[in-house]
Amino acid sequence: MAITHRPEATDLDRTPKSRWRWLFLLPLFVFVGVGGFLAVGLTRDPEKLPSALIDKPVPAFDLPPLAGREDGGLKTADLGHGQVMLVNVFASWCIPCKVEHPMLMRLAKEGIPVVGINYKDKPEDVARFLAEMGSPYQKIGADRDGRAAIDFGVYGVPETFIIGKDGKIAYRLAGAIQERELEENIRPVLKALTR
């Protein structure tokens, strides 16, 4: 590569500006930092729960019901009991939740119990969401401050957990359930657990 202006460059090196030369390195350093985070983020396969929670019992939580619903909320003791269940973390303000909603409705219609953790939401917004889209949830716990979601290790909404008959977490999906995840991952896990 031709570097045609070399003499000029050395001239400029002697100007007072060269004191500030390190500033030109700043963007690179910032990017190295961001790139580092992206790299670490990449090694943590976020589609799966940290192995610490897989095959472990559901973390202890006890959530009140949504205003106006008589389902008694959702707590640790509601899960397990010889039933395979889907725990879906959702919010009315989350667009991907709206995308995956029909999949949950389909599963619920097929008789698979689905319960919801409603994440950082306003009661009137959830009511509107469920009134329009329909509710696949047998029970919903209102997680106003997001505490239960943190205990579950939730990155963002939506996320879905499959809980086995023994009340242990068998599978986790981060992001919206789409046709492919449903057929390739969720159904096989459900089938294996119900056997």
Partner: protein, 661 residues
């Protein structure tokens, strides 16, 4: 067969890209005209073969060739033709092909039209474009092959998510990509300038049309996406600070800063290294954005790594493209300072302020988007960053920016007279305050945010018009001379006024919808009438209708004003047959004053239905405003100094280089 040809064409395109990304560098270093002339030839060849591949993929989708995995996963025979075509870029693999196709389109445009660029510069620009092409073609071929076959071929495909089967979303990705990828030209120009060690006003003028074209496309692309979210998602909202939206918004903010700082390079030969940095950052943010959203999982950064091999490849591209360019920048940019000096009060300073605020706003959005990832990798804590963060940080940066726009536009280069400018804007300021009082009177008890928004909007529109009026001597010169001056103004002067005023219209719309929305949620039975924001809405009942690939229940409503029928509005609940998914089509009646937005909800017992109603005042102003900004971009693109081509770089930088007639 055609599918195999498409696959083969992609491989050939990769070969052309490799040639384009290497030989011209060598040629430019040796000043060898024959080697340098390989660059345009390779660029045109790459464009030809990527076009063939793209057409082959479209063909496979249009003919519903279910032996192709990509078609099976994203199409079905029952889809209308337009969605068979738009389905090509409605998935990961196909959208990457579109991405590369647009990249090659820009490369071919430089190859075919860049006659005024010096040979070595043109060769280097095209070589950088070639390297970007190599990265993406390799990414497609090794990790995301759209032409992968499937045996045995099924009889029917899985279809496309119905929420994506929409005319707005059919053209939204191509527009967005034109913007994203268009900024690759700014990147290549910056890299070539760093290699050559020279940035001058001519460089800024070469850069301008590409940046303008990309900016205009991105503006319209973002507006289309927002419009789609508005009418399709059925909440009456228009912007959600979702990571996907942020990903397109960050390059827009940086690109807007770049457009403004490049003017300073062009007119005053100052801010060079900053402009180079912005050009690199704008495309880097486009790359980051493309990848944050790439896999189609829209939630957040975890979309990044849905497939580990893809994620790694992506990261590699990011490291080489962004890290490499920033390293080159750190090495070469310090030699490029100098140029025109300017006083603290001057148009240059105004544009520096613009850049500082826009850069801060970009950083704010970037931090909000990446923060969950950063926190998770450092402390293990898991959080999500929502709208409140962005509103609390972004709006305070925008208010001073917008307040300064009309003032900055009237400042003179080098040294300006601030009190004089403020005096000339007195009328606009007074009129803006009148608008504020008017809004306050009409909307009795409007929020502070609402009033501030309208004040800013009025100030932008009126201040921009004042600038135009001052320039043509309106009110001080006789009408004949005013007309003469109006005719004599360069188109770029009009473009600036149009774009700034468009932003004002956009802000008025956003303010009105976010602070003045009326909503009612209720159960209705046929024949019932309710009030909504001065109108009455009558529910006339529900009928079953059949569409091309869906069945629907259509709720019919009549809008009345003072018992006179104004309009009928239909809202549908659709069930798509192949995908077995329901969607809701809101019924919207748009007027300049506001949208009546009706959504049919679930059926309850005995003919009663859930219904949601909104009245969104001035909603259409948002899309009008964005459209006006886009028109501003196009008008600027048609400016004489860009149309007739930039002159060859002068030996000494001249601020008023004569255009070749």
């Amino acid at each position: 067969m055609i599918v195999e040809i498409g696959h083969y064409a992609l491989v050939l395109a990769l070969c052309f890209a490799i040639v384009q990304g290497t030989v011209p560098f060598w040629g430019a270093a040796r000043q060898d005209p024959a080697l340098m002339s390989m660059a345009p030839a390779a660029a045109l060849g790459q464009f030809l073969f990527v076009s063939m591949a793209f057409l082959a993929l479209i063909y496979a989708h249009v003919t519903s060739d279910f032996s192709v995995l990509n078609v099976v996963e994203n199409s079905s025979t029952m889809k209308p033709l337009i969605y068979k075509i738009s389905g090509v870029w409605g998935n990961h693999e196909g959208s990457l092909v579109l991405w590369v196709w647009i990249l090659c389109l820009f490369g071919a445009a430089v190859a075919a039209r860049g006659h005024n660029l010096p040979d070595s510069f043109k060769a280097r620009v095209l070589a950088i474009q070639g390297l970007i092409g190599v990265a993406f073609l390799a990414f497609i071929l090794f990790t995301s092959n759209p032409f992968a076959r499937l045996t045995p071929a099924p009889f029917e495909g899985n279809g496309l998510n119905p929420i994506l089967q929409d005319p707005g979303l059919a053209i939204h990705p191509p527009m967005l990509y034109l913007g994203y990828v268009g900024f690759s030209m700014a990147y290549s120009f910056a890299m070539a300038a760093l290699i050559e060690g020279r940035v001058d006003p001519a460089w800024a003028r070469w850069l301008r049309p590409w940046t303008l074209a990309a900016w205009t496309a991105l503006t319209l692309g973002i507006a289309l996406g927002s419009w789609w979210a508005y009418y399709e998602l059925g909440w009456g909202g228009f912007w959600f600070w979702d990571p996907v939206e942020n990903a397109s918004f960050m390059p827009w903010l940086a690109g807007t800063a770049l457009l403004h700082s490049a003017i300073v390079v062009e007119k005053r030969d100052a801010l060079k290294s900053w402009t180079i940095l912005l050009a690199i950052l704008t495309f880097s943010l486009s790359l980051l954005g493309t990848f944050l959203v790439r896999s189609g999982v829209l939630t957040s950064v975890h979309a990044f790594a849905t497939d580990p091999s893809r994620g790694l490849f992506i990261l590699l591209i990011l490291i080489v493209a962004i890290g490499g360019s920033l390293a080159l920048y750190a090495w070469r940019a310090p030699t490029m300072e100098g140029g025109g000096m300017f006083a603290p009060i001057s148009r240059e300073s105004g544009l520096v302020l613009n850049n500082l605020l826009l850069a801060a706003a970009t950083a704010t959005v970037l931090l909000g988007t990446l923060y969950p990832l950063i926190l998770e990798t450092t402390t293990g804590a898991k959080i999500s960053v929502g709208g409140p963060y962005f509103q609390a940080t972004f709006i305070p940066l925008m208010v001073p920016l917008i307040a300064a726009v009309p003032i900055g536009a009237m400042l003179a280069w080098k040294r300006a007279d601030l009190p004089g400018v403020l005096a000339r804007l007195k009328l606009a300021a007074a009129a803006s305050l009148l608008v504020l009082l008017g809004v306050w009177a009409v909307r009795d008890g409007s929020s502070v945010m609402g009033l501030l928004g309208f004040l800013m909007a009025a100030w932008l529109v009126l201040g921009s018009l004042t600038e135009l009026g001052q320039r043509i001597g309106l009110g001080t010169l006789p009408p004949g001379r005013v007309l003469g001056r109006l005719r004599g103004l360069p188109r770029s002067a009009f473009a600036m006024v149009i774009a700034h005023a468009g932003l004002g219209v956009l802000i008025a719309g956003m303010t009105a919808v976010s602070t003045g929305q009326t909503q009612r949620i209720l159960t209705m039975s046929a024949g019932q009438t309710v009030d909504l924001a001065g109108y009455q809405v009558r529910f006339d009942g529900v009928e079953d209708v059949a569409g091309a690939n869906y069945r629907a229940q259509r709720g019919q409503f009549t809008l009345l004003s003072a018992s006179r029928v104004v309009a009928t509005i239909n809202s549908e609940k659709r069930t798509y047959l192949v995908e077995r998914m329901p969607t809701t089509e809101a019924g919207i009646r748009t007027t300049l004053l506001g949208d009546t937005y009706l959504v049919l909800g679930d059926a309850l017992s005995a003919g009663r239905w859930n219904v949601r109603m909104y009245y969104n005042p001035l909603a259409v102003w948002m899309w009008l405003g964005a459209g006006i900004m886009g028109v501003g971009g196009l008008v600027s693109l048609s400016d004489r100094r860009l149309r007739v081509g930039a002159p060859q770089p002068a030996a000494k930088p001249s601020t008023a280089a004569p255009a070749r007639a």
